[in-house]
């Protein structure tokens, strides 16, 4: 682990974050948007774990923050999928361009 500078781990997680953001920009399907959000959350978790391990290896703050983010991401995914299923029932489509009732 000590052979790799911290910057390389951070650059890797930044790249992962921006890949997720590219998905957010280009996708129009709710399930794929949810996948992009998961990628972005995971890149943040890698950041926290790396900071914890490289700078303060005898403490556990980064580990717990990453753990709580994983739990909240699980709750968020469950709610998002309930909303997606409800939207599919009323619109027969989960494309974000088809749900425009609250737009104006």
């Amino acid at each position: 682990m000590s052979h790799i500078p911290l910057q390389h781990v951070l650059i890797f997680s930044t790249a992962l974050f921006f890949i997720g953001m590219f998905g957010m920009f280009t996708r129009r399907n709710l399930i794929t948007l949810l996948m992009s959000v998961e990628l972005m959350l995971n890149s943040v978790n890698i950041n926290l774990a790396a900071f914890n391990k490289y700078l303060y290896p005898q403490q556990t703050g980064g580990l717990f923050l990453a753990l709580f983010i994983i739990i909240i991401a699980a709750a968020e995914a469950a709610i998002a999928i309930a909303i997606i299923i409800n939207l599919y029932r009323s619109h027969h489509s989960i494309d974000v361009d088809d749900a425009t009732e609250m737009k104006y």
């Binding site: 911290l6 998905g23 998961e38 914890n52 909240i72 991401a73 709750a75 469950a78």
Partner: protein
Amino acid sequence: MMPASAIFFYVIAAAILVTAILSVTTRRIFRAAIWLLFSLMGIAGIYFWLDMNFLAAVQIVVYVGGIVVLIIFSVFLTQGSGQSLPLPAKFRLFISAVAVSLGLAFTIWILHGYGFLATAPEVPAVEMREIGKTMLSVQSGGYALPFELVSILLLAAMVACIAIAMKIPADKKND
């Protein structure tokens, strides 16, 4: 000559980035879910490489075993696996790619110039027993309060999921 652990990191990182790119660009939604699965498993590998075994186990159980399976279920409930998504507009693809590359370049530039603290000497991994004690400790530095808050959040999320996704029979809809 790089040591084996350094090669391991670069190989895993490259695999994660490639599968993540495939996951956000493939037009088959089921394949996107499977690429996401590989990407998340690679991230668990990164946690193992960082010597955080508990976090890696949680990653596999919650993400690979839970969230991806949930996503695949919702794909089957709403889309079917065979359909392919329409291509996004060329202009939007171009603008997104430019914005994302600019953001990536800017962040890497900042990271490059930032003076981080010196890397601390390696210590043995935090034991599972220690993690459990810290999580339920009410002393200073313990995580009992966030633990309880998160359990209430999970309960609320569970109730909300049932309330949102419940099918109301047609004859009761107008009550």
